[in-house]
């Protein structure tokens, strides 16, 4: 079932000036309840403009955004519902921390929702637990935390609103491998345990190949691919033509096929490639 939907969404910047630019071009997309959807596209593909429509930060030039079946710009109530129901985590969200303590920062969203103190506290602890921020950090100033911890606190601030859709723009940018892995695990756990939908924007094809259940590709403002990771990475050459990369495992599989190893096209994780290769060898030659 669809929880969030765009219908023929178009966004034009600086309309009627010499700088007019169509950033999002007629995109219709439905995000299903509970799914983990990956969005890929290189810089300038319209990704960021697109996601800012999903919780009403930008208004479409044409087309509609529906949250739980309701046009988010139809009324003030609808817009308020989407602001709390669809959480948006920007790139480098740690620059947006502003409160004196971690607890206060994470509670900012639930406070704005008009919740009581007990409920706020419960949500703050729950959100902090999802991102691996311990209670001992609650009274610490966010400024004293490491970069990775700050990022987690910022994400917790959005999760504390218990959104039905959580959108993250490059949540792992600039983190080291261990930090990247652990934040992605946390996000995936949040999705599984709360049943919320997650929309993940990432430049790292290897990350997205492992975590997303469905992938869409934006190119020059248009939605050009929509399918499972296998279906999308099958079209490796088209992706490369768009200036995108493919997962390293896909690259290795392509190079193996060029050397006469018979592999199916849709290889996008190292784990799967290893399985295929093991089967090939144990099968005693090409099959």
């Amino acid at each position: 079932m669809s929880i969030l939907e765009t219908q023929n969404l178009t966004h034009v910047y600086s309309r009627g000036t010499p700088f007019e630019k169509v950033a999002v071009d007629n995109v219709s997309l439905s995000v299903d309840e509970g799914e983990l959807l990956g969005i890929i596209g290189h810089t300038g593909s319209g990704k960021s403009t697109f996601i800012q429509h999903l919780n009403g930060l930008l208004k479409p030039t044409a087309g509609k955004v529906l949250f739980q079946g309701r046009d988010i710009h139809a009324s003030k109530d609808a817009l308020r519902a989407v602001r709390f129901g669809v959480g948006l985590v920007f790139q480098y969200p740690e620059y947006q921390l502003f409160e004196e303590t971690v607890f206060q920062d994470v509670s900012f969203g639930p406070k704005n929702m008009g919740l009581g103190e007990d409920e706020i506290r419960e949500r703050v602890y729950e959100a902090a637990a999802f991102v691996g921020v311990g209670r001992e950090l609650m009274e610490v100033s966010p400024l004293e935390l490491s970069g990775g911890q700050k990022r987690r606190v910022a994400i917790a601030g959005v999760i504390a609103m218990r959104p039905r859709v959580l959108i993250l723009d490059e949540p792992t940018a600039g983190l080291d491998p261990a930090g990247r892995e652990s934040i992605l695990e946390n996000i995936s756990q949040f999705q599984r345990e709360t049943g919320a939908a997650v929309v993940l924007i990432s430049h790292s094809m290897d990350d997205i190949a492992r975590f997303a259940q469905r992938l869409i590709v934006l190119h020059e403002g248009r939605l050009v691919m929509d399918g499972t990771p296998a279906q999308v990475f099958d079209r490796a050459n088209e992706l490369k033509d768009m200036g995108l990369t493919v997962p390293m495992a896909t690259e290795i599989a392509l190079a193996l096929r060029a050397r006469g190893v018979e592999l199916p096209e849709s290889v996008y994780t190292t784990k799967y490639l290893r399985k295929l290769l093991t089967a090939l060898r144990e099968g005693g030659g090409p099959c």
């Binding site: 810089t43 491998p177 930090g179 430049h203 200036g243 290795i252 190079a255 050397r259």
Partner: protein, 279 residues
Amino acid sequence: MDNPIIQLENVSYAYPDAEAPALSGVSLEIARRSFVAVLGHNGSGKSTLAKCLNAIVVPQSGRVLVNGLDTADEDKLLDVRRTVGMVFQNPDNQIVASVVEDDVAFAPENLGVPPTEIRARVDEALRRVGMYGYRLHAPHLLSGGQKQRVAIAGVLAMQPQCIVLDEPTAMLDPVGRREVLSAVRDLRRHSGMTVVLITHHMEECVYADRLIVMEKGRVAMDGAPREVFPRVEELRALGLTVPETVNLLHQLREAGWDLPLDALTVEDCASKIAELIVS
């Protein structure tokens, strides 16, 4: 090592109020015209190490010598900074002018280089990073990868002997990352400049001559990529990952395949595996 460009002798440094030192007793030498990559997770001391190389950080004990000059000697500061140029992570924080070529001219102007020579240096530096065509553009309208290449040109225009890049691709998309890395590799190939690249992207280190892995302010590993990457388990224990090529080779070896672990590039890796299957 004969006549190294940089020498660290037992260097230690701790930030005020920090629980543990950022660097503790680091000794190493960097050879002229080498391409050295420094790896380590966040907090391992790799950025502090980078900052020691041109006297942004001066050791609290031990010393750093650049061309034999002690970085703690304030009279030699200008010489040290002229010898070792630095490019930082965030391209937006490094741009000072509103026109690309003015930005690149900033450092040589400050060094008192005569105007005609500045012109020549700026053009040459911009050509080297493939940004000459953008010399009259406004830097803030460029892509991240382009901005970072302008920042590199700004350092080149000082004509340093060594360039240190502190996670120059961390904030870039894959296209920008490729642009910057290929500019960095060209520097090394065509000008014989010493390059020190700080990163936590393992794939970026494949082309380095030497890899230094930092952990808790110390050098944990030091060797050619072909020697360091096969130490998969140790790297993982340090919170680092290996390139997917090595990861695959490692998994297959554990399953009993007779494969080397040092086929780092996609092409090498595929060739080695194909030999075992197709034959």
